[in-house]
């Protein structure tokens, strides 16, 4: 039986007026509608339209967060523009990414990639993290370009490249300057790439990374971390050689 969309008018009015501390029961029927939308394309479209309107108007942060959570469940390419518009907002970027990370449509990744060049600081780190979470290999080059900049962003970029584990990611990490606080992230990411290569049976690529990391840490490591890296590299070398 088709869901009666007209029954959602009052709940959506309540949702628009919602703020933290007010009664959330008034728009509870929307939860049921979201569940029903998984099997009802018309309902999904209607919900996305109404959610999009709420994201674009002056509704509260609480309302927008609720909407983002629901779009993470049922969102499609149709919701991407409304969500993308929030990516540069200090208040809403996080929840917009929360939804876009989970929307399977390639438009969602494109929106995150486009926003990467427009934001700075924590928001940029967030974009890098979301692209890595999506496994978006098309963003490797853009992320690699961040390795030489701000230390926090560079560390996040290294971690993302270690998650993506492509040959390009490994090459970018190999060429990056492993200095200061970024050094640890780069080495961890390189070991992660090597692990990925080994899992795919590319022993030569893995071995090259392990040899390089082993050489970088030296024969006489001084810190606990260096010793742990040496152990990891040596184990990797043995695993990739046999």
């Amino acid at each position: 039986m088709a869901f009666d969309i007209a029954t959602l008018d009052a709940p959506f009015t309540a949702l628009k007026a919602f703020n933290w501390g007010s009664d959330a029961n008034a728009f509870k029927p929307i939860d049921a509608a979201v569940i029903a939308a998984h099997a009802d394309a018309t309902l999904r479209g209607e919900l996305e339209k109404r959610f999009g309107q709420l994201l674009g108007d002056d509704s509260s942060r609480a309302t927008k967060e609720y909407v983002c959570r629901k779009l993470a469940m049922i969102g499609t390419a149709a919701s991407v523009p409304a969500l993308a518009a929030l990516l540069t907002s200090e208040d809403h970027s996080h929840m917009a990414r929360f939804a876009l990370e989970r929307i399977a449509a390639p438009e969602a990744a494109e929106a995150l990639r486009a926003a990467l060049g427009k934001v700075q600081g924590a928001l940029k780190i967030g974009m890098v993290s979301s692209l890595a979470s999506r496994g978006d290999k098309a963003s490797v080059s853009a992320i690699a370009g961040l390795l030489g900049g701000d230390a926090a962003i560079a560390a996040a970029a290294a971690e993302a490249l270690g998650t993506l584990r492509t040959p390009e990611a490994a090459a970018a990490l190999a060429g990056a300057k492993a200095e200061g606080g970024v050094a640890a992230a780069i080495i961890d990411a390189r070991l992660a790439c090597a692990e990925g290569f080994l899992a795919k049976g590319d022993r030569a690529a893995a071995k090259a990374i392990y040899e390089s990391v082993n050489a970088a840490v030296g024969a006489e490591p001084k810190t606990h971390r260096e010793r742990a890296v040496r152990v990891a590299a040596k184990r990797g070398l043995l695993a990739s050689a046999e």
Binding site: A199, K200, R203, R235, L238
Partner: protein, 470 residues
Amino acid sequence: MFLRRELAAVLVAALSLSAMPGTRAESTPAASREVFDTVVELIRSGDADMRPVAMEKVRKGLKGEAFTRELAEKVLPELKKPEDQAALLAALADRGDPAALPGVVAVAKGQAAPAVLTAAIRGVSALGGADELPLLMSLLAADGAIGEAARGALVAIRASDVSARLVQALGDAQRPSSDRVALVGILAERREAAALPALVTAAVDADAAVRAAAMKALGTLGGPAEVPGLVAGVLASQAGAERGDAERALVLVCTQNRDKESAAAAFLALFQVAEPATREALLPTLARVGGPAVMAIVNGLIASPDAAQRKLGLTALSRWPDATVKDQLLELVGKAADEEERRLLLGGLIRIAPLPDNGLDPAQKLALVEQTMKLCTRDEERSRLLERAAAIRTVETLRYVLPYVDQPALAEPACLSVVELAHHQKLRDGHKDEFVKALDKVLATTKNDEVAERANRYKIGKTWERKKKT
């Protein structure tokens, strides 16, 4: 915190390598040799960080007997550090390739450091078979960890004829008594039914230590088929501690074993066809097993006009395993004209009244304690009863015992009983105020430092660790 997270990330990366499908692919001989050389280099380096990395490869990688032999016969003897030797021996044992055995045996026969020797002994156990038994048995008499490792190795070693060879060794009367005692324990721990006849034979051995060990083993392993052997063991034991332990083993088989009814029936059948002197020796043990048929025998003896027979019956009654005989005991104590007879029966009542599995509920147990207390004529008996009353874990027992703290002659056993009851946290916490007052009274009365320490601990909600009996 950040550093710890980083280290964890690196180590997780390192550890996950061993689970990767890519690492399981077939490798070329040249590649394997390269890895082997690296592993050997890591082992020889003595680097504690790298030791687990190398040993993991010894355990699970580097396939082939040739590598095993090289590790055991070339690398192992050249290592200088005992920790490297012990680690390699343990890894070779886990590798499970018998090709390492000659190298491992050579270390076990040598004069290595104790940690190395114990690792070699475990290696012999993991990789060897019956041919290694003489070596392991020769190490049984060694002190401390080495003797213990040899014992553990003999329990763990697996091969078709190991048990038969151990049984054969046990039968060799020329072996030192300590070795034969150890062999009995080893056979018992191996839990092989084939060893039971050997244990039955050992239960009547000329050596008292071997007999005692065999009876103890049969008490846990034996069943109805071993009852004749256990009975023979009881009869062969010397009066005193050995007899007590032997009787306990037989009673265990007849009351705790999975097939206890059959075992008890077998014991009764043997008793009924035994010579009078043997019946006399066995009756106290049979009484501890209990049952209607035994009760009929006991009652027959008690009714006998022969004083010796009556005493035998009363002794058996006093050892009854549950409280079904309480009324009979109460009546007989009340009527006893002979002081020795009265003490014997009263001892039985004191024993059974608080028994956890005597068939009475806690109120009935306490009522029986009160009845028994009235029949006591000596402080020694009252003391014993007060101490045993603590086995009835109720607040009513506390209320019964507490007034005795005021009686100088009974104060210490009463104090001990109070702290024993307080030891049980649920009981103590359920009646906190009452216990605090009782413990204060104990603290004001007792001269026993341990009882005072316990009372102080329980008062503030702490527990107390009972010292293990040696």
